[in-house]
Subunit: 378 residues, 2 copies
């Protein structure tokens, strides 16, 4: 069983391009969405890198943002390879095809796997998430479910955490499992799961991360990481989650990404089931066995994976934005997200100019991009 993608395996970066891409995504104030805007705007990472300092200065940056040198980028690539980690772009072998479809897909993903294990990433994935302090029943069910999904050809993807994640990874070692890390590949959290990670790699599973080597995961890295768990999967199963738990955030993001959300029911008297029961009330699919999931995702697997429609190319405007245009756009922005299309309409300024000003603000660390073409001032 392999995932079908509309342009699977077509993108292969040259080594020089990979260095440029890595420098750009590791530059200050450049996240996956900004990266995509810059590539769309300037046509290549190299062209974007050249313009970056000037754009940030015009956007009002107090001082120039840091851009890693070519040497630094090469050292990161080589340091990864020594650990068995390849930095791959969407469309390259090892990049989960479905992950490429989310609008903040990492431009480069660090994939830790044995060389002959990369085909795993082409298979459909189901995410299993849930409480770190799960009940015995929850752990048992996670294991049963992961085993049955694996036997049906699905890769089980999870977050290497204690509790449900661990049970799901362990039960799918033989059939294929992927751990998504919140930190760098050399900073495993929790540290006691380094053994589990080694078992996953040896069993021809994989670990993936968008973070550089040496990055120790902080609190905000986990929700950010969670979008990769759901993004790579056809659907996300939540097993045991209390109210306001991290698994529910993953479920909400999964729904935003258009992924199926499955939840395992539990007694109303069990607080560990409060979150999953609530998900079902809000429209998640109640599941009690792997067959429920397989039946629900079958029609999705029958369709090829559609990459998001490429934004039309926006060549940079003939001249730099006029300062009065820039202040008009800044005045229309505030802390509440507003649509870029609305900004263009309300300002009466040419779309190419508006987009350039937004890029400048973003690179100056003054703008946040949300999903759905929304932006806000920081």
């Amino acid at each position: 069983m392999g995932e079908r993608s509309s342009d699977q395996g077509t993108t292969v970066l040259t080594e020089a391009q990979r260095v440029d891409w890595l420098r750009l995504i590791r530059a200050d104030n450049v996240g996956p969405r900004t990266f995509r805007s810059l590539i769309n705007h300037f046509g290549s990472a190299r062209a974007a890198l050249e313009r970056l300092p000037e754009l940030a200065r015009r956007g009002g940056a107090a001082r120039a943002g840091r851009i890693p040198s070519e040497d630094e980028a090469r050292r990161e690539i080589e340091g990864g390879r020594r650990l068995g980690v390849e930095l791959v772009a969407p469309g390259e072998p090892g990049y989960p095809p479905r992950l490429a479809t989310i609008d903040d897909a990492p431009p480069l993903l660090g994939v830790h796997a044995l060389p002959d294990a990369l085909a795993l990433m082409q298979r459909p994935m189901i995410a299993i998430v849930g409480s770190r302090n799960a009940s015995g029943a929850g752990l048992k069910f996670a294991g049963l479910l992961a085993g049955d999904l694996g036997a049906s050809g699905f890769v089980v993807i999870s977050g290497l955490a204690r509790g449900i994640d661990q049970a799901a990874h362990r039960a799918s070692l033989g059939s294929g499992t992927v751990a998504v890390l919140a930190g760098g590949h050399d900073k495993i959290y929790p540290a006691e799961h380094e053994d589990l990670l080694l078992d996953i790699i040896e069993a021809r599973g994989a670990a993936i991360s968008e973070m550089p080597l040496g990055h120790v995961p902080r609190g905000k890295d986990f929700p950010r990481r969670n979008r990769l768990i759901s993004g790579a999967a056809v659907g996300v199963v939540v097993i045991e989650a209390a109210y306001r738990s991290g698994s529910l955030i993953t479920a909400r993001r999964a729904a935003d990404q258009g992924r199926e959300v499955f939840a395992v029911p539990g007694s109303p008297l069990d607080p560990r089931a409060a979150g999953t029961n609530d998900l079902i009330k809000q429209g998640a699919t109640l599941i009690t066995c792997a067959a429920d999931i397989i039946q629900a995702v079958a029609p999705i697997l029958d369709r090829p994976i559609e990459l998001p429609g490429r934004e039309p190319d926006h060549p940079p405007p003939a001249s730099d934005p006029d300062p009065s245009d820039r202040s008009r756009i800044v005045n229309l922005l505030g802390p509440s997200p507003v649509g870029i299309d609305d900004l263009i309409r309300l300002s009466g300024i040419a779309p190419a100019v508006v987009r350039t000003v937004l890029l400048e603000l973003e690179l100056a660390g003054r703008l946040e991009r949300h999903g759905g073409g929304l932006v806000s001032l920081l």
Copy 2:
């Protein structure tokens, strides 16, 4: 909080009419649907009683069906009154208004309650059903839910069985509870729940039954009884039910009656939750607290209860059906249910004649009426 009905309290039978109604509903081969057909056809129970033997004979009955005498009917009415049981018709005080809306509503319902407790029947009811051998958690939840529903003004209606039913009745003694019996009012099942029944009556609750005094409930009486539990209620809550359990039949009938179906989730590893989880998969509403139920039924309670559209009167045909017409209709019938409208169309025989032939067959014990205007040959 009182239920609003479009013609609440308008029907009051004279004592003579009550005797006729009781003789007719207790006659052989006359169930609630046949009763309604006969009243529609002949205009009154008295007129129907006079024609009954002849109709049955024409329908092919080997021997005349039994019809209780006036004396017998009077004795049943008086025997009930000595126990505190009144036989009431739809629209009379004590008959739950919503129960009158199902298409096989009992023409006479035996209501056991203290005289000043009948107003209870005008309040909205929620049915709570579930396993006889429920878990401790299930019993606890049933009690919590029944208590909370009672505190919000709902009457809790159930089947006086062991397990969930008992817990629901006990927890709603103070706020109002109704037990629906499968046998006569003097044949309580299980016998050990006679005390619970007395407690319900003393607490100004009620017990209802459509069966005559002395009727010992048999297996098939329980599903038949279950339609009254759901029929009288706005919605039915199923707490803990295994696969293929009686509670699931009640839930299916409730859905057919247009009642809301609520189910309490449980762990996939708990076989006592298999039935309720399955109900949710099939579209029942997952609930974890009384507020979930109250929110779901609020819009229904805001609408007046609509009694089913009365069938147009079908005066008996001018002459008895022609034997060739009768055999043509019998030939069109078989064990699979067929619509009466289709019979009329396919046979080309006048509707009044078709209906008369069907009544004859029914009274001869050869025809079964299903919901939705469907009939089949036995």
